[in-house]
Amino acid sequence: MLEYRVLPAGDTALIVEFDDRIDRELNAAVLALAHGLDAERIPGIIETVPTFRSLMVHYEPLVLSASALIACIDGRMRNLTTNTSVGHLWHLPVCYDPSLAIDLDEVARRTSFSAQQIVERHSAPTYHVYMLGFLPGQAYMGEVAAELALDRLETPRTRIPAGSLAIAATMSCVFPLQTPCGWHVIGRCPVPLWDHGRATALLAPGDKVRFVPVSVREYERLASGVSQGALRFEPVGEVVGAAA
C-alpha cells in the first residue's frame, strides 16, 4: 500500500498527504483517491480538493466523524489502483511574441537562450495537469525544462492580463483571469480556461497539454473568434498508454 499520512486542517477538513515531492505517480494516486471518495458519495463529505501530492477532504463533522472518515480513506487506500494515463490530450495555441510576453527577453537574458530557443524548449514537452487552484480554471502544468526553471519574481506584478502563459520553477500556468502575479510571462493563450457563463474549467487534473506556437495574427484571429463565441475548443484525444 502506498504510504500516506493524515494531517489535521481544523475540524472540517483533513489532508491525505503522499510524500514530499512533485511526481506524476503520486499525483495519480491523489486523483484516484479523490475519484474513489467522490464516487462513493459518502454522506458528510462536502468536497475533495486534489493537489500535487495531497488531497484535502472537506467534511461536516456533525454528520461524519474524523475517525469514520479516516477509516473510509484507509479502506480506499488498501485497494487503490492508480492510472497515470487517464484524461484528455489538449493542444493549446500560444503566441510567444514579445508584444504579448513581457518577460520573454528577461528570461532569455537569465537563461542565455535566444527567444526562439525558449519557445522551442517550452513548447517541446507534453505537460501534465497536476491540479487546478489559485484562480478558477487555473491549471498547474509540469514539467518545464530544467534549463528554463527560474525562481519567482522578487516583486510580483500587480496585474497581468487574462490568458497570460507564465513559468516559475518547473511549472507552467495559463492565468485565466487578470491577476497579480509573480511568475515570468512568456506568452499568451487565446483559449479561455475558465468559462464564466457555464462556470466550467477546460482542463482537469490528469489531462495532458501541448503548447502550439502561433503567430500574432493567428492569436488575434483565435481571440476574436473566442470573444464572438464562434470557437469551441475540444481535446485532440484521450491520453493513452503511459504518456510522457
Partner: protein
C-alpha cells in the same frame, strides 16, 4: 415599476454575500461567503428571508443609498454604526437608528451608514432579497474570481441593485437581542497541518504571544502583527489545498489567518487552523483588535460547532417586536417629505 437600491457611496468595501459556494474548490473556485454568517443569518431573519439569502456586507465604512421601491424593509446587523435615515436626497436632517433591527422605508428615502465601531462588519438585508442570479449556486461576490454578487465586484457609486420584492409586507418591525458580540480574545485552534515546520519553542511562542489585527487585512486574510514565528525547515511547501481559518506563516514570520475569500491552494506552512465555531467572531474583529491563540482538541472543536449550529437554529427566538413601531419614525420622515415636496420618481 421596479424596485432597487441606488448606491450613492459604496463605503470602503461593500459586497453581496450569502453562505458561499462550497463544492467547486477543485476547480480553483473559492468558497467565499459572509465573514460572519451568524450576523448574516440574523439580518435575514429580521426581514423574514431564508437565512442563507444574500445580503450586503460592509467593511469598516458603510454605504449610502437611495430606496427606489414603493417601500422596502431593511435590516442592519453587526458592528455599532450610526445609521442615518434621510427623507430624501435633499434633506438636511435625519433620524438616526441603531443596528440589530429591521425598518420599513419609503421610496426616495436615503440611508447613510457611517464608520463602523467595535467591529469590522455590518450586514444589510432587504426583505425578499436582491434580484441577482446565483453563480454556482451562490450570489456571493468573488472579487478574485471576478464572478458572483453584483458584477463580480464590490459596490461602486451609481450601482442600481435590483430587489426581488416591489414592496414590503405589512408587519411589525423587530430587533434582535442577546447575540454575543463580545470581541474574541482567545482564538481556539487545532495545531497543524504543518506543525513539523516549527520547533516546539516556536509553537510555544505562537501560543504565548499576543497578536494585533493589522491594516493589511481583507476578506482573503487577516494579517497579524506580533512576535514573529521562525520556521525550522524553510517557508515553502509544495502547494496544497487550504482550509478557511488556516494560520499560515509566510517568510516574514507574521501569521495570516485565511478567511472566506482565500485562494484555494497555496504554498506557505500552516501552524494551526482556527476552529470553525470561532470563525464568525474572527470575521468580526476590526483592525487593531488583540488576540491570542489557544490549542483545542478536535472533540472540543466539534462540540463548539454543534453548540453554534443549535444556537443558529433558534436565532429567531432572539427576535423581539419593537414596541414603538417604526411607523412613528416613518410618519415623521413622511412629514419631512411632504414639507420639502420632493418626490423621487426615478426607477
Amino acid at each position: 415599476m421596479t424596485a432597487a437600491l441606488r448606491v450613492i457611496s459604496p463605503g470602503l468595501s461593500t459586497t453581496l454575500q450569502d453562505l458561499g459556494r462550497a463544492g467547486f474548490q477543485r476547480l480553483g473556485v473559492a468558497v467565499g461567503g459572509a465573514l460572519d454568517p451568524i450576523s448574516l443569518r440574523a439580518a435575514n431573519s429580521l426581514v423574514g428571508n431564508p437565512v442563507d439569502s444574500g445580503a450586503l456586507e460592509a467593511l469598516y465604512v458603510g454605504p449610502s443609498f437611495v430606496v427606489e421601491a414603493d417601500d422596502a424593509r431593511l435590516s442592519f446587523v453587526g458592528a455599532d454604526a450610526e445609521i442615518e435615515i434621510f427623507a430624501d436626497m435633499d434633506a438636511q436632517s435625519s433620524e438616526a437608528i441603531s443596528p440589530m433591527r429591521s425598518i420599513r422605508l419609503q421610496r426616495g428615502q436615503v440611508v447613510r451608514v457611517g464608520s463602523l465601531k467595535n467591529g469590522a462588519i455590518l450586514y444589510i438585508a432587504v426583505e425578499g432579497g436582491f434580484a441577482v442570479e446565483p453563480v454556482l449556486g451562490s450570489v456571493s461576490t468573488d472579487s478574485r474570481g471576478q464572478m458572483g454578487g453584483w458584477q463580480g465586484r464590490a459596490l461602486a457609486s451609481s450601482d442600481v441593485l435590483p430587489l426581488r420584492s416591489l414592496e414590503a409586507t405589512d408587519r411589525d418591525e423587530y430587533r434582535i437581542e442577546g447575540l454575543d458580540f463580545a470581541p474574541l480574545r482567545r482564538v481556539r485552534v487545532i495545531p497543524g497541518p504543518q506543525s513539523d515546520y516549527f520547533s516546539q519553542t516556536e509553537i510555544e511562542r505562537f501560543f504565548a504571544g499576543e497578536y494585533t489585527v493589522s491594516a493589511g487585512s481583507n476578506r482573503m486574510g487577516m494579517r497579524l502583527e506580533g512576535s514573529p514565528i521562525r520556521h525550522s525547515r524553510g517557508f515553502n511547501i509544495i502547494s496544497e489545498a487550504i482550509a478557511t481559518g488556516s494560520v499560515q506563516v509566510p517568510g516574514s514570520g507574521q501569521p495570516i489567518v485565511l478567511l472566506a475569500d482565500h485562494q484555494t491552494t497555496g504554498g506557505y506552512p500552516k501552524i494551526a487552523t482556527v476552529i470553525s465555531a470561532d470563525l464568525p467572531a474572527m470575521g468580526r474583529l476590526p483592525i487593531g483588535a488583540k488576540i491570542s491563540f489557544v490549542p483545542a482538541t478536535l472533540e472540543e472543536a466539534v462540540a463548539a460547532r454543534r453548540k453554534l449550529a443549535t444556537d443558529l437554529e433558534t436565532i429567531g427566538d432572539k427576535m423581539v417586536r419593537i414596541s414603538l413601531p417604526s411607523a412613528v419614525v416613518a410618519t415623521r420622515l413622511l412629514e419631512c417629505n411632504l414639507i420639502s415636496g420632493v418626490c423621487n420618481g426615478a426607477a
